[in-house]
């Protein structure tokens, strides 16, 4: 029982960051109709920026997190304006190829810049785990969980309560009508991509100190983000949140009770099974299969 609780808790920590990844991707996918295979690279970027800010520029751990998020959002904005905006009238397959190109280019640029050796991000938290009844958790992981939850809540507020969020939701529902009502689609797209990339960078900067930072870390992150999106349904924010937590817990349970070698297979299996059995996602109402 204690073991199960421990797995659930670890899964929750992982799942919080998966939810961040998935929320960004589901917005980009659902709203812009762009299959962003470079999403994981913004996760990697967040981790490296946070490492650079901490280890090289000597900035405080929490400030480095903020720098990482801002850097992710800025590069996401640039990417949308430079690459996706000129292709907006093209098919989804065309932009997908471009994003695959961006993925390969970013990953190998990171490999060239930082080398293949994994880096670890130093953090100010004590390493002794907090014991809470039957379970224990490292203070760092608790912080990751709390901050992920805070970011999820903030995103939720942004989408539901602000003018920008309302414009985003309108664009998702019907782009042409939204444009007729005075929503600047170009601005919304840029904001969405920047927002999604910022969330991915946040996830990378949060998980960076927990695990190690290396150039190809974004590949699995991308796939996990896609599993989350597929679990939750396209453009479905609560779905992405739940899907993220579900994936994190499923992975922990799979690694704990089945085989740790197949931990990452859980995400793959979810993609295959959900797409084949319930392609609109577990929590979705409408079908949006292209």
């Amino acid at each position: 029982m204690a073991e199960l609780l421990q797995h659930l808790l670890n899964g929750l920590v992982l799942g919080g960051t998966y939810a961040l990844l998935g929320m960004g991707l589901t917005l980009i996918f659902g709203l812009m109709n762009v299959v962003n295979f470079a999403h994981g690279e913004f996760y990697t970027l967040g981790a490296y920026v946070s490492f650079a800010a901490l280890a090289l520029a000597g900035i405080d751990f929490f400030a480095a997190l903020l720098v990482a998020i801002v850097a992710g959002a800025a590069l996401g904005w640039l990417c949308e304006v430079a690459l996706l905006r000129p292709l907006r009238s093209e098919s989804i397959d065309t932009t997908m190829l471009v994003m695959i190109g961006v993925w390969i280019a970013m990953q190998n640029a990171e490999l060239l810049g930082w080398g293949g050796v994994a880096k670890s991000i130093p953090h100010p938290f004590p390493t002794a785990p907090l014991v809470l009844g039957p379970v224990s958790i490292a203070p760092l992981r608790l912080f990751v969980l709390a901050l992920a939850a805070a970011l999820i809540a903030a995103s939720w507020l942004l989408i539901q309560k602000t003018k920008l969020g309302r414009a985003m939701r309108a664009t998702f529902q019907d782009r042409d009508t939204a444009a007729l009502m005075g929503v600047s689609i170009g601005r919304i797209h840029a904001a969405t991509f920047a927002f999604g990339s910022g969330l991915a960078a946040a996830a990378g900067a949060l998980l960076g100190p927990v695990f190690l930072v290396y150039p190809s870390m974004g590949d699995l992150a991308s796939l996990k983000a896609f599993s989350v999106v597929i679990l939750g349904g396209l453009g479905n924010l609560p779905g992405a949140t739940l899907g993220g937590l579900l994936l994190g817990i499923a992975e922990e349970l799979g690694a704990g009770y089945l085989s740790s070698g197949y931990r990452d297979a859980v995400g793959f299996a979810i993609i295959i099974l959900v797409l084949l059995c319930r392609p609109s996602g577990l929590f979705a109402r409408q079908e949006r299969i292209a």
């Binding site: 996918f29 471009v98 597929i230 297979a265 292209a290």
Partner: protein, 322 residues
């Protein structure tokens, strides 16, 4: 491509070992041939059905492992192992095609990536069978009757035969009723369906042939490098195939071959100037640039340049879907 040009190319390819003095150049030619088979295989799906498989390295790897395991563990000789590799990869293609081709576009891509991910994890973790990350060394060189095909020249002709066979299969397929059905599906699926084209049947067929060809490439690769490890599932292989097809011209017969030769020779030629990471970085940038400036690829572009911009289209190169 004109008939005379085609014969000239074939004659050049057949006499290539006489021209190339060093075994290193021959090695590049062999790898170009293997990748030519792989690129043609990917093109069947991406170019003719419009579905991108980003898990194509899985079929390549299945072919490589099948061939290596059968010759190493069961002492099969090369030819039946090759046939088994092609068959098993084709079966995997059938499985994926059956399962996935009711999905289109991005969802198909994701299922193929996930399939490759699972297969790759199996190759790492099923140590009793695959020897895990250490891989399987000592895959035997093929033999043809009393002759060993160990020498690079002999292997070159083996690969060349595979390229020729794959090309003929593709041409036969594409110029038949099946190819026209596939193009019709790519261009307008509901319309094709409405005139009685059996969508799933043709898509699965394309997936099976494509996967079987990738398996052929995998087997040839395994017996050439004489070593198989989970690295055959590396995403890099899939990326290379995609670049070759997109650059050469998807949906054309010659495009993948042009792409394969180009992207096998160029990296080797630039090896002194740029490391492998720079090349991969360049691949990424190149993919973006291609989409922007040469979306149909080199072969259709060249055909347009040579015949004037108003040239009639080649029967096997309809416009890329927008």
């Amino acid at each position: 491509m004109t008939r005379a040009g085609g014969w000239l190319l074939a004659a050049g390819a057949l006499t290539l070992p006489l021209w190339l003095q060093s075994t290193y150049h021959l090695h590049v030619a062999i790898m170009a041939g293997i990748f030519g088979v792989l690129a043609m295989s990917l093109n069947l799906l991406l170019g003719y059905t419009g579905q991108l498989s980003l898990g194509h390295a899985a079929f390549f790897g299945i072919g490589a492992y099948t061939s290596a395991l059968l010759t190493l563990k069961l002492d099969w000789s090369f030819w039946p192992a090759l046939a088994a590799a092609v068959a098993l990869a084709g079966a995997a293609g059938f499985f994926i095609g059956r399962l996935a081709l009711k999905l289109r576009g991005a969802y198909f891509v994701l299922v193929t990536i996930s399939f490759a991910g699972v297969i790759s994890l199996v190759s790492v973790n099923w140590i009793e069978l695959t020897n895990g990350p250490l891989g399987l060394p000592g895959v035997p060189a093929p033999e043809l009757g009393p002759w060993s095909l160990r020498s690079k020249t002999a292997y070159y002709y083996l690969v060349l035969a595979a390229v020729g066979l794959s090309y003929l299969v593709c041409r036969r397929l594409v110029r038949s009723r099946i190819g026209r059905a596939l193009v019709a599906l790519r261009e307008n699926e509901p319309l094709a369906e409405s005139v009685g084209v059996d969508v799933t049947h043709y898509l699965v067929l394309a997936a099976v042939v494509s996967a079987a060809m990738a398996g052929l490439g995998g087997s040839l690769y395994a017996h050439y490098t004489r070593f198989v490890s989970p690295e055959v599932f590396l995403f890099t292989y899939t990326v290379t195939m995609v670049i070759m097809v997109v650059a050469g011209g998807k949906g054309t017969l010659a495009g993948p071959l042009v792409g394969a030769v180009l992207f096998s020779v160029l990296p080797e030629a630039l090896r002194a100037a740029a490391s492998w990471q720079w090349q991969m970085l360049a691949y990424g940038v190149l993919l973006v640039l291609l989409v922007f400036y040469l979306p149909r690829g080199i072969v259709p572009w060249l055909a347009g340049v040579m015949l004037g911009s108003q040239a009639p289209r080649e029967p096997d190169s309809p416009p890329a879907r927008r």
